[in-house]
């Protein structure tokens, strides 16, 4: 029955179907070599379901077509209820399963309902990070009216974001420990990138060249180091952390300056070398 269909196919289709046949054959031989195997089930030969055509995916960023947020960070309503209720218990119980259980109880669920969150306490950390990142938008709205350079706005936003962590300062080392577990590192890093990207976007940074990457990396590095510093900061109103952040921004500016001078110097030496070569009669 399949023969004429196969023959009518072009060469390329034929080879690919042969390859598929050879892939499925091991299981077939195994099943048929078992002596006691009675009639095979009908649905065993179901053809592979064709994948649904994916909605159009852009591999570039566009202001007019905002991309949907990634699937894994979307929470259902019940998950959000438990997580927001659990945040109230974080200052006392830390980013722990206990806080989650208490949150579930507060919102009318059972102890066992924390199974709704497959990543457990790490979901609580992620929720904290994502929700605080969302709050930055309001801060940026307030900054809009003021006359401020991009650099200054970035510094201001980083500091505001750090102040949001003040409430859970004593528990933050536990959260950092959770984020640094091997399985959690990819999600933590993507969240850190999202934060630095948001800060730069909200501050009005519009760079589209290689500095897009370096800026995000430097903001991420400054924020992450300040976060660690803050867990040991005893000063009132995070004064020491603020100083730490401004020192890091100065360092960043100095490094940037040095790099650009070095680049300039190399470019100058290069063009000199080319000029020198030409004066010697090289065909460059």
């Amino acid at each position: 029955m399949a023969q004429p269909f196969l023959l009518s196919l072009p060469r390329r289709g034929l080879t690919s179907s042969c390859r598929r046949l050879s892939l499925t054959s091991p299981s077939r031989t195994i099943a048929s070599c078992s002596r006691f195997t009675p009639a095979r089930p009908q649905h065993h030969y179901q053809p592979r379901q064709r994948q649904q055509p994916q909605p159009l995916q852009r591999n570039y960023h566009s202001e007019n077509h905002p991309s949907k947020s990634p699937q894994e960070n979307e929470y259902s309503n019940s998950q959000l209820t438990i997580l927001s209720a659990a945040l109230a218990h974080v200052p006392r119980h830390g980013f722990s399963r206990d806080a989650l259980i208490l949150g579930a109880r507060d919102s009318g669920f059972l102890d066992v309902s924390v199974q709704l969150l497959p990543r457990g306490e790490f979901d609580l950390v992620l929720f904290w990070l994502a929700s605080r990142r969302g709050l930055l938008r309001d801060v940026a709205e307030k900054l809009k009216g003021k006359e401020m350079g991009v650099e200054k706005k970035v510094r201001c936003l980083v500091m505001e974001r750090l102040r949001m962590n003040e409430m859970v300062k004593t528990e933050w080392q536990g959260a950092l420990a959770l984020m640094s577990l091997a399985g959690n590192i990819p999600l933590s890093l993507s969240e850190l990138h999202a934060l630095s990207s948001d800060i730069l976007n909200l501050a009005g940074d519009t760079s589209v060249d290689a500095s897009w990457y370096t800026k995000r990396m430097s903001v991420a590095a400054i924020y992450a180091s300040a976060e660690v510093y803050m867990t040991r900061d005893q000063s009132p109103n995070l004064a020491e952390t603020e100083e730490f952040v401004s020192r890091r921004f100065e360092d960043n500016a100095a490094i940037g300056e040095k790099l650009s001078s070095a680049k300039q110097c190399l470019g100058f030496m290069g063009s000199t070398a080319v000029g020198l070569g030409r004066s010697w009669g090289w065909k460059i």
Partner: protein
Amino acid sequence: MSRSLWRSLHYSAKRRLAAPPTPYRCFSCSLRAQDQPRKDGQTTHFGFKDVPEAQKESMVGAVFSSVASSYDTMNDLMSLGIHRLWKDHFVRSLNPGSAPPSRDTDSTGKGWNILDIAGGTGDIAFRMLDHATNINHDLNTRVTISDINPDMLAEGKKRSIDTPYYNTNRLSFMEANAQTMPSIPDNSVDLYTVVFGIRNFTDKQAALNEAFRVLKPGGVFACMEFSKVDNELFNAVYKRWSFSAIPLIGHLVAGDRDSYQYLVESIEQFPSQEEFRGMIQKAGFMIPGRGFENLTGGIAAIHKGIKPIS
């Protein structure tokens, strides 16, 4: 008298199981099988065979009566001991028992009420009670072991004598069909577990609906079951092992090839991770995240569902 009755039932079921295999099957056989009239709603799978629904229960019963005594040895041999790791992981991820901070403010009854379906030998039940006692220091969590098969329950009762829960109100046994459990009231169970059992049920959807009924709002349905391997190469090795080695081990160790042949065929028949997740959703449960967790490349999978609050 009843014992001899059981034995004769068992014997007749085994005879039926060992029906002579088709001597030669060409590729067109599947087409011929499709042509055969199939009365929907009246037959169900028993391994690779279609049997009347009314018979499946007794046939499965015969299989498990005959494997009850050698259950643990056989599990160890068939899974190379990995089933213990799976079960430990399953219980640890559920974290049964009320943790201290929530217990202090607890006003709605103490401890969890756990229902372990098809848990005849008590494998999962004892692990959960141990976890609640030793990890969460909760001495009130209780487990009801339910099984349709009296032989498996007897095995579990025998084993419970060696545990500290013997003859306490924390452990009870119940002989019931998971598709209808009238003795369990609505909204009364915190955690419903079924481990390597649901593939033997005649009507899986009915069992899921019954689970939805007995669970409290917010309660959790957790199921561990054999599933589909996602890696083509590993799948070939696994199929070779399960179709050649497992019936042979059953033959040599337990002296019962047919029961273990049924075991591997029923594993093959069980729906894939995505299909089974769909069935759980159809019963009304919320699915956390992806809905399932593959163990050892998908040989087994843990499925979870949560009953919505309103």
